[in-house]
Amino acid sequence: EAGVAQSPRYKIIEKRQSVAFWCNPISGHATLYWYQQILGQGPKLLIQFQNNGVVDDSQLPKDRFSAERLKGVDSTLKIQPAKLEDSAVYLCASSLRKLADTQYFGPGTRLTVL
Protein backbone atom coordinates (compact mmCIF):
# COMPACT_ATOMS: atom_id res chain seq x y z
CA GLU A 1 0.00 0.00 0.00
CA ALA A 2 1.46 3.37 -1.02
CA GLY A 3 1.85 5.93 1.74
CA VAL A 4 0.98 9.59 1.82
CA ALA A 5 2.83 11.46 -0.91
CA GLN A 6 3.93 15.07 -0.63
CA SER A 7 5.80 17.43 -2.90
CA PRO A 8 8.04 19.26 -2.99
CA ARG A 9 10.22 17.90 -0.18
CA TYR A 10 12.10 21.16 0.24
CA LYS A 11 11.33 24.75 -0.70
CA ILE A 12 13.25 27.97 -0.13
CA ILE A 13 11.54 31.28 -0.87
CA GLU A 14 11.88 34.89 0.10
CA LYS A 15 9.36 36.62 2.32
CA ARG A 16 6.30 37.97 0.54
CA GLN A 17 6.57 35.28 -2.14
CA SER A 18 3.93 32.59 -2.66
CA VAL A 19 4.32 28.85 -2.29
CA ALA A 20 2.12 25.79 -2.75
CA PHE A 21 2.38 22.29 -1.37
CA TRP A 22 0.71 19.18 -2.71
CA CYS A 23 -0.48 16.07 -0.90
CA ASN A 24 -1.89 12.78 -2.13
CA PRO A 25 -3.34 10.72 0.72
CA ILE A 26 -3.54 6.96 1.02
CA SER A 27 -6.13 5.62 -1.39
CA GLY A 28 -9.56 5.42 0.17
CA HIS A 29 -8.78 7.66 3.13
CA ALA A 30 -11.64 10.07 3.63
CA THR A 31 -9.93 12.41 6.08
CA LEU A 32 -6.96 14.60 5.19
CA TYR A 33 -5.01 16.86 7.54
CA TRP A 34 -2.44 19.58 7.05
CA TYR A 35 -0.12 20.24 9.97
CA GLN A 36 2.57 22.83 10.58
CA GLN A 37 5.54 21.64 12.61
CA ILE A 38 7.94 24.30 13.77
CA LEU A 39 11.37 23.05 14.86
CA GLY A 40 11.25 21.65 18.37
CA GLN A 41 7.45 21.62 18.56
CA GLY A 42 4.69 19.13 17.98
CA PRO A 43 2.55 19.20 14.83
CA LYS A 44 -0.15 21.87 14.88
CA LEU A 45 -3.30 21.18 12.90
CA LEU A 46 -3.95 23.83 10.25
CA ILE A 47 -6.92 22.31 8.44
CA GLN A 48 -8.87 19.07 8.32
CA PHE A 49 -10.92 17.82 5.38
CA GLN A 50 -13.58 15.15 5.45
CA ASN A 51 -13.82 14.11 1.79
CA ASN A 52 -13.88 17.48 0.01
CA GLY A 53 -15.38 19.49 2.87
CA VAL A 54 -13.55 21.46 5.55
CA VAL A 55 -14.43 20.33 9.08
CA ASP A 56 -11.82 22.29 11.05
CA ASP A 57 -9.75 25.28 9.99
CA SER A 58 -9.75 27.12 13.30
CA GLN A 59 -5.96 27.42 13.41
CA LEU A 60 -5.43 28.30 9.76
CA PRO A 61 -4.20 31.91 9.27
CA LYS A 62 -6.80 32.63 6.66
CA ASP A 63 -5.36 35.98 5.65
CA ARG A 64 -2.41 34.19 4.03
CA PHE A 65 -3.07 30.44 4.03
CA SER A 66 -5.57 28.59 1.89
CA ALA A 67 -6.20 24.93 1.17
CA GLU A 68 -8.44 22.91 -1.05
CA ARG A 69 -9.36 19.33 -1.71
CA LEU A 70 -11.61 19.73 -4.71
CA LYS A 71 -12.31 16.12 -5.66
CA GLY A 72 -11.95 14.65 -2.20
CA VAL A 73 -8.62 13.05 -3.01
CA ASP A 74 -5.43 15.12 -3.28
CA SER A 75 -5.03 18.51 -1.68
CA THR A 76 -3.06 21.73 -2.06
CA LEU A 77 -1.97 24.12 0.68
CA LYS A 78 -0.95 27.62 -0.35
CA ILE A 79 0.77 30.45 1.47
CA GLN A 80 0.49 33.94 -0.01
CA PRO A 81 2.41 36.02 0.96
CA ALA A 82 4.90 34.09 3.09
CA LYS A 83 6.39 35.48 6.29
CA LEU A 84 9.62 34.54 8.06
CA GLU A 85 7.65 32.80 10.80
CA ASP A 86 6.13 30.41 8.25
CA SER A 87 9.44 28.53 8.12
CA ALA A 88 8.49 25.03 9.23
CA VAL A 89 7.80 21.53 8.02
CA TYR A 90 4.33 21.14 6.53
CA LEU A 91 3.01 17.67 7.11
CA CYS A 92 0.07 16.08 5.40
CA ALA A 93 -1.67 13.15 7.04
CA SER A 94 -4.65 10.99 6.20
CA SER A 95 -6.92 8.59 8.02
CA LEU A 96 -9.53 6.11 6.91
CA ARG A 97 -12.40 7.71 8.77
CA LYS A 98 -12.37 10.42 11.39
CA LEU A 99 -12.92 9.44 14.98
CA ALA A 100 -10.17 7.66 16.87
CA ASP A 101 -8.37 6.72 13.69
CA THR A 102 -4.67 6.27 13.13
CA GLN A 103 -3.21 9.14 11.16
CA TYR A 104 -0.62 8.30 8.52
CA PHE A 105 1.84 11.07 7.84
CA GLY A 106 3.64 11.96 4.66
CA PRO A 107 7.35 12.89 4.58
CA GLY A 108 6.58 16.59 4.82
CA THR A 109 7.74 19.70 2.98
CA ARG A 110 10.46 21.70 4.68
CA LEU A 111 9.84 25.39 3.96
CA THR A 112 12.50 28.02 4.56
CA VAL A 113 11.47 31.66 4.22
CA LEU A 114 14.38 34.10 3.88
Binding site: T31, G40, Q41, G42, P43, K44, L45, Q48, Q50, V55, D56, L91, A93, S95, R97, K98, L99, A100, D101, T102, Q103, Y104, F105, G106, P107, G108
Partner: protein
Protein backbone atom coordinates in the same frame (compact mmCIF):
# COMPACT_ATOMS: atom_id res chain seq x y z
CA UNK B 1 -9.08 25.18 24.54
CA UNK B 2 -7.58 21.77 25.05
CA UNK B 3 -3.87 21.69 25.80
CA UNK B 4 -1.56 18.70 25.94
CA UNK B 5 1.71 18.93 27.82
CA UNK B 6 4.59 16.50 27.82
CA UNK B 7 7.47 16.13 30.25
CA UNK B 8 10.35 15.96 30.10
CA UNK B 9 11.17 17.91 26.97
CA UNK B 10 14.50 16.11 26.68
CA UNK B 11 15.59 12.72 27.95
CA UNK B 12 19.21 11.58 27.85
CA UNK B 13 19.43 7.87 28.56
CA UNK B 14 22.30 5.44 28.86
CA UNK B 15 21.79 2.38 26.67
CA UNK B 16 20.17 -0.35 28.72
CA UNK B 17 18.46 2.00 31.17
CA UNK B 18 14.72 2.54 31.59
CA UNK B 19 12.85 5.83 31.37
CA UNK B 20 9.32 7.22 31.40
CA UNK B 21 7.78 10.15 29.59
CA UNK B 22 4.52 11.73 30.70
CA UNK B 23 1.62 13.38 28.94
CA UNK B 24 -1.05 15.54 30.60
CA UNK B 25 -4.19 17.02 29.10
CA UNK B 26 -6.09 20.04 30.41
CA UNK B 27 -9.37 18.30 29.53
CA UNK B 28 -10.75 14.77 29.62
CA UNK B 29 -9.86 12.83 26.52
CA UNK B 30 -11.78 10.42 24.35
CA UNK B 31 -8.58 8.64 23.43
CA UNK B 32 -4.87 9.25 23.26
CA UNK B 33 -2.38 8.24 20.61
CA UNK B 34 1.40 8.03 20.69
CA UNK B 35 3.66 8.74 17.74
CA UNK B 36 7.42 8.47 17.22
CA UNK B 37 9.38 10.79 14.98
CA UNK B 38 12.93 9.85 14.09
CA UNK B 39 15.38 12.70 13.40
CA UNK B 40 14.57 14.11 9.96
CA UNK B 41 11.52 11.88 9.65
CA UNK B 42 7.80 12.17 10.04
CA UNK B 43 5.56 11.04 12.93
CA UNK B 44 4.75 7.34 12.88
CA UNK B 45 1.82 5.90 14.83
CA UNK B 46 2.74 3.68 17.77
CA UNK B 47 -0.44 2.99 19.69
CA UNK B 48 -3.88 4.21 20.72
CA UNK B 49 -5.41 4.03 24.20
CA UNK B 50 -9.15 4.37 24.65
CA UNK B 51 -10.26 2.92 27.98
CA UNK B 52 -9.72 4.41 31.42
CA UNK B 53 -6.72 2.78 33.10
CA UNK B 54 -5.76 0.91 29.93
CA UNK B 55 -2.27 -0.53 29.70
CA UNK B 56 -0.77 -1.77 26.44
CA UNK B 57 2.64 -3.22 25.74
CA UNK B 58 4.72 -3.33 22.59
CA UNK B 59 7.90 -5.29 23.28
CA UNK B 60 9.92 -2.94 25.51
CA UNK B 61 7.36 -0.12 25.39
CA UNK B 62 4.54 0.11 27.93
CA UNK B 63 1.77 2.66 27.46
CA UNK B 64 -0.75 3.64 30.12
CA UNK B 65 -3.90 5.76 30.09
CA UNK B 66 -4.88 7.36 33.38
CA UNK B 67 -8.05 6.53 35.26
CA UNK B 68 -9.42 10.02 34.67
CA UNK B 69 -8.44 9.88 30.98
CA UNK B 70 -6.44 13.09 31.34
CA UNK B 71 -2.94 11.70 31.42
CA UNK B 72 -0.80 9.02 29.86
CA UNK B 73 2.69 7.65 30.11
CA UNK B 74 5.18 5.78 27.97
CA UNK B 75 7.75 3.62 29.71
CA UNK B 76 10.68 2.15 27.78
CA UNK B 77 12.78 -0.59 29.34
CA UNK B 78 16.34 -1.49 28.40
CA UNK B 79 16.70 1.47 26.04
CA UNK B 80 18.42 0.80 22.73
CA UNK B 81 19.96 3.17 20.18
CA UNK B 82 16.98 2.42 17.92
CA UNK B 83 14.77 4.21 20.46
CA UNK B 84 16.29 7.56 19.51
CA UNK B 85 13.70 10.08 18.36
CA UNK B 86 10.94 12.32 19.60
CA UNK B 87 7.87 10.75 21.16
CA UNK B 88 4.62 12.66 20.85
CA UNK B 89 1.34 12.05 22.57
CA UNK B 90 -1.78 13.33 20.86
CA UNK B 91 -5.15 13.56 22.52
CA UNK B 92 -8.64 13.69 21.08
CA UNK B 93 -11.07 15.69 23.18
CA UNK B 94 -14.35 14.16 24.33
CA UNK B 95 -16.35 16.94 22.72
CA UNK B 96 -14.55 16.82 19.40
CA UNK B 97 -16.68 15.08 16.82
CA UNK B 98 -14.23 15.25 13.96
CA UNK B 99 -11.30 13.37 15.42
CA UNK B 100 -9.03 16.38 15.83
CA UNK B 101 -5.82 15.49 17.64
CA UNK B 102 -3.97 17.92 19.88
CA UNK B 103 -0.26 17.05 19.88
CA UNK B 104 2.07 17.67 22.77
CA UNK B 105 5.49 19.24 22.20
CA UNK B 106 7.17 15.85 22.44
CA UNK B 107 9.96 14.25 24.44
CA UNK B 108 13.23 14.13 22.55
CA UNK B 109 15.15 11.00 23.48
CA UNK B 110 18.91 10.74 23.08
CA UNK B 111 20.60 7.43 23.82
CA UNK B 112 24.27 7.17 24.72
CA UNK B 113 25.93 3.80 24.06
Amino acid sequence: GQQVMQIPQYQHVQEGEDFTTYCNSSTTLSNIQWYKQRPGGHPVFLIQLVKSGEVKKQKRLTFQFGEAKKNSSLHITATQTTDVGTYFCAGQGKTDSWGKLQFGAGTQVVVTP
